[in-house]
Amino acid sequence: MPLELLVEAILAGVLLGGFYAAVSVGLSVAFGLIDVPHIAHPAFLVLGAFGAYLLGGYGIDPLLAGVLLTPVFFLAGLALYRFYHAVFERRGSDAGLRGLAFFFGVAFIVEVALILAFGVDQRMVEAPYIGRSIALGEMRVPIRMLVAFGVALLLTGGLAVYLSRTFTGRAIKAVAQDQTALALMGADPVRIKQWAFGIATGTCALSGALLIIIGPVEPGLGRLYIGRTFCVVVLAGLGSMPGTLTAGVILGVAESVVLTSLGASWAPAVAFGLLLLVLAVRPTGLFGR
C-alpha cells in the first residue's frame, strides 16, 4: 500500500474512531459506571438523530439541535431510570436477563414509535459541513468527520473532567465501586445512579445528531450499533472516558486501514479480533482497573 494512502487511511480511521467514541460515551457511563445493561442506548441515539432531523425542518443546525435536545433527553433518562429502579432494581430483579429484557423492550418501543411518527424511509439532514471536504495537500477530508471527532473530544473530555473534578462526578465513580460505602458517606446511591443515567441519556441527543450528520438514519438503525458501542466500552475498560476515546480510535484506525489494504470484508473481523486480543492480555480493558 502506498505511504500516502496509508496516511490517509490512518487519518480517516482516527476521525471515524472519534465518531465511534462519541456514540459510545453514554453507554460507557450507563453500563460501565452504574452497571445498567442499557441495550436501548443505540435506540436513544436514533431517537436523538430523528430529533435533529425534526428540528432541522425548522432550519436548526443538527449540532445545535443536539445541544437543545440534551436537557430533554437528560430528563427522559432520569424518568426512565426511576421506572427501571422501581420495577427491577428495588425488587432485586434486575439481575441476569430481566434487566436486559426491559431495555430490549424500551428499544423496541422507541423504534416502533419512530416508525409510526416518521415512517421507515431513510432520513438525512443538511448542514454546511455535510457533503463537503477540506484539502490537506493531496488529501481530502470530509468536514462532517472532523465535526464528529471534535464533538467526541468535547464529550469525552468534558465527562472525564466532570467525573474527576466535581462532587457528583466523584460520587458516580464511587457508586460504581461500592454503593454501601457511598450511602455511609451520606449520599443516596439511587439518586446518584439516576443522575448518571440522565447524563448517559443526555449524551444521546448530541451523539444522535452526529449519527444523522455522518449518514442517513432509519428507525431500525440502532440494531447495527449495539455490537459496536458495547465493543468500544468493553475495549476501553468499563467507565473510562479517555479509554472510550482511545478504544474508538483504535477500532476506527483498524477498520480504515483494513478497508484500504486487506479489503472491506475483513474490517469487522479485524476490529473484533483486536477486542479479543486486548481482552486476552488485559481482561479489564485498556483503561480498566
Binding site: 471515524l16 465518531f19 416502533v112 416508525i115 432520513r123 455522518i214 442517513p216 447495527l224
Partner: protein
C-alpha cells in the same frame, strides 16, 4: 380486506397493523363465498421497509380494484400480510405459518432477493406457486417450476450487460467492482465479474464490504487510487447514500467515465430528494421512470392513483420502482385464476408459463426458470439534477434512459464530465 398480522417477533408489526385492521370493505362483503386469501410477508420495518411499504400499498390498490369489480371467481380477495422486518431468517417461518395455519390460497414472495432465497426450499418442497417480488436469480439453484418473478431483470448477466455495453461505448478499459456482502449484491457482482473480459475490461479493484459499514471514505480513496474507467457498485439503500456522499466529498477521480450499476435506493423518493445534485452522472438500473418509452397502457393512471394514496399512507411519494410491478403481481394472479377458473397451483403455473400476462408494466412472457423471457431492465443516467426538488423527478429528462436501445431516451455522458459541470 387487508389483514396485517404480527410477525414472529411481532413487536413493530403489532402497532403497525392497527391502522389497517378492520372489517371487509362493503363491496367485498357483498360478494358471496369465502374470500380468496393471498399470503405474503413484506418488509414494513428495517432497511427494506421503504420499498416494502410502497409495494404493499400497490397490492392493496389492486385488491380494492379487483374487489370493486366483483372479486375473483365471484369471491372477495383478502391479503394476509406479515412484516418480515427485512430479516431473512424470519421468512421460512412466516410462510410455513401462511401455509399451515392461515391456509392461504396463493402466495406472493417477500420483497427482495435476500428474503426470498431462504424461502425457496420450502416452496419447492411443498410444490407451491410463488410469485417472486424483486428477487434476483432466487430460483437459479432450486429450479422450482412454479416460480415466476415479477421483476424484469432476467438473469444477473442479462441485468447488468447493458451497463457494460455503455462502458464499451464510452471506451472504458478498466473497471472497479464494489459490492455489499449480501445475496442480491453478490449475485449481480458475480455476473459483472464474469462480463468484464467479454467487454475488454481489466479489473483493477474488486471488493465486498460488510453490510454495517459506516463510512466509505477509505474505500472511495482506494478506488480513486486505482484510476478505473468504470466503477460498478452493488449496494443497498443506506450504503448507496453513504457511497454517494463519500464520492462527493473525496472525489472518485477524473478517470471514471461510468459510475453506478446496481445501487438499490437510488430509486426511492426520499433518497433522490436528499442526494439531489450528488446524483448527477450516475448511471443506475431502474424498472420504470416517467420517460416516453415507458408508456405502457395503464401505468401512468396507476402511478397517479398510487401517488394520491401514498401521501396519506406516508410511503414513497413517487412510487416508480416497486409499486407498478407489485400491482402487476395482482394482475398476473387475477388473469391466471380468471382464465383457468382454478386455484390449483399446478394449473395456474401451467397457465402462467404458457401465456402472455397483460399488466400495467407491459406484456410478460416467462422463460423456463421463471424469469422474464425478454428482460426489460433499463439504465438511467441522472442529468441536470438540482438540490431539494422532488418534483423534478416526476418529469422526463432527469432520469434519462441510456440503455437498452429499445427504450433509450438520451445518450450516456461521461461521469466525470457531468460531475465537473455540476
Amino acid at each position: 380486506m387487508n389483514e396485517l398480522r404480527r410477525g414472529l417477533l411481532g413487536r413493530g408489526a403489532a402497532l403497525l397493523c392497527l391502522p389497517v385492521l378492520g372489517a371487509l370493505p362493503a363491496a367485498a362483503r357483498a360478494q358471496g363465498g369465502k374470500p380468496i386469501r393471498i399470503g405474503l410477508s413484506i418488509a414494513q420495518t428495517g432497511p427494506l421497509g421503504a420499498a416494502g411499504k410502497s409495494g404493499l400499498l400497490a397490492l392493496q390498490i389492486w385488491r380494492d380494484d379487483v374487489n370493486a369489480a366483483g372479486g375473483l371467481l365471484g369471491r372477495p380477495v383478502e391479503l394476509v400480510v406479515y412484516d418480515d422486518q427485512s430479516n431473512a431468517a424470519l421468512t421460512p417461518g412466516i410462510y410455513t405459518k401462511l401455509l399451515d395455519v392461515d391456509k392461504v390460497d396463493l402466495l406472493i414472495a417477500p420483497y427482495s432477493t435476500n428474503l426470498t432465497a431462504p424461502l425457496m426450499p420450502l416452496v419447492k418442497q411443498r410444490d407451491r406457486l410463488l410469485i417472486g417480488n424483486f428477487a434476483l436469480d432466487a430460483n437459479a439453484q432450486i429450479r422450482h417450476d412454479k416460480y415466476f418473478n415479477i421483476q424484469p431483470w432476467g438473469s444477473p448477466r442479462e441485468a447488468c450487460a447493458p451497463f457494460f455495453m455503455l462502458a464499451r461505448k464510452l471506451g472504458a478499459k478498466s473497471a472497479a467492482i464494489l459490492a455489499a456482502d449480501a445475496e442480491y449484491a453478490q449475485n449481480i457482482a458475480g455476473a459483472a465479474r464474469a462480463l468484464l473480459p467479454e467487454y475488454g475490461l481489466q479489473s483493477v479493484y474488486d471488493q465486498n464490504y460488510p453490510p454495517n459499514t459506516v463510512d466509505f471514505s477509505s474505500i472511495v480513496r482506494t478506488i480513486r487510487a486505482k484510476k478505473p474507467d468504470v466503477v460498478f457498485v452493488a449496494s443497498y439503500p443506506a450504503d448507496s447514500t453513504a457511497i454517494m456522499r463519500s464520492v462527493s466529498e473525496i472525489g472518485i477521480g477524473d478517470s471514471v467515465k461510468l459510475f453506478g450499476g446496481g445501487m438499490v435506493g437510488l430509486q426511492y423518493a426520499t433518497l433522490l430528494e436528499s442526494l439531489g445534485s450528488m446524483l448527477n452522472g450516475v448511471v443506475n438500473y431502474h424498472t420504470w421512470v416517467p420517460e416516453k418509452s415507458m408508456d405502457f397502457p395503464g401505468v401512468r393512471e396507476f402511478v397517479v392513483r398510487y401517488q394520491a394514496r401514498a401521501k396519506q399512507a406516508n410511503v414513497d411519494p413517487l412510487g416508480f420502482y416497486v409499486p407498478p410491478f407489485d400491482y402487476a403481481i395482482g394482475q398476473l394472479l387475477a388473469q391466471a385464476v380468471a382464465a383457468t377458473k382454478s386455484l390449483d397451483h399446478a394449473v395456474l403455473a401451467t397457465y402462467i408459463r404458457d401465456n402472455e400476462i397483460k399488466t400495467i408494466v407491459g406484456g410478460i412472457r416467462y422463460a423456463p426458470g421463471g424469469e422474464w423471457l425478454a428482460p426489460r431492465i433499463v439504465y438511467v443516467q441522472f442529468q441536470g439534477i438540482a438540490d431539494k426538488n422532488l418534483d423534478q423527478f416526476r418529469s422526463p429528462g432527469k432520469q434519462v434512459i441510456v440503455a437498452p436501445d429499445a427504450f433509450k431516451t438520451g445518450e450516456v455522458r461521461p461521469f466525470s464530465q457531468l460531475r465537473q459541470s455540476n
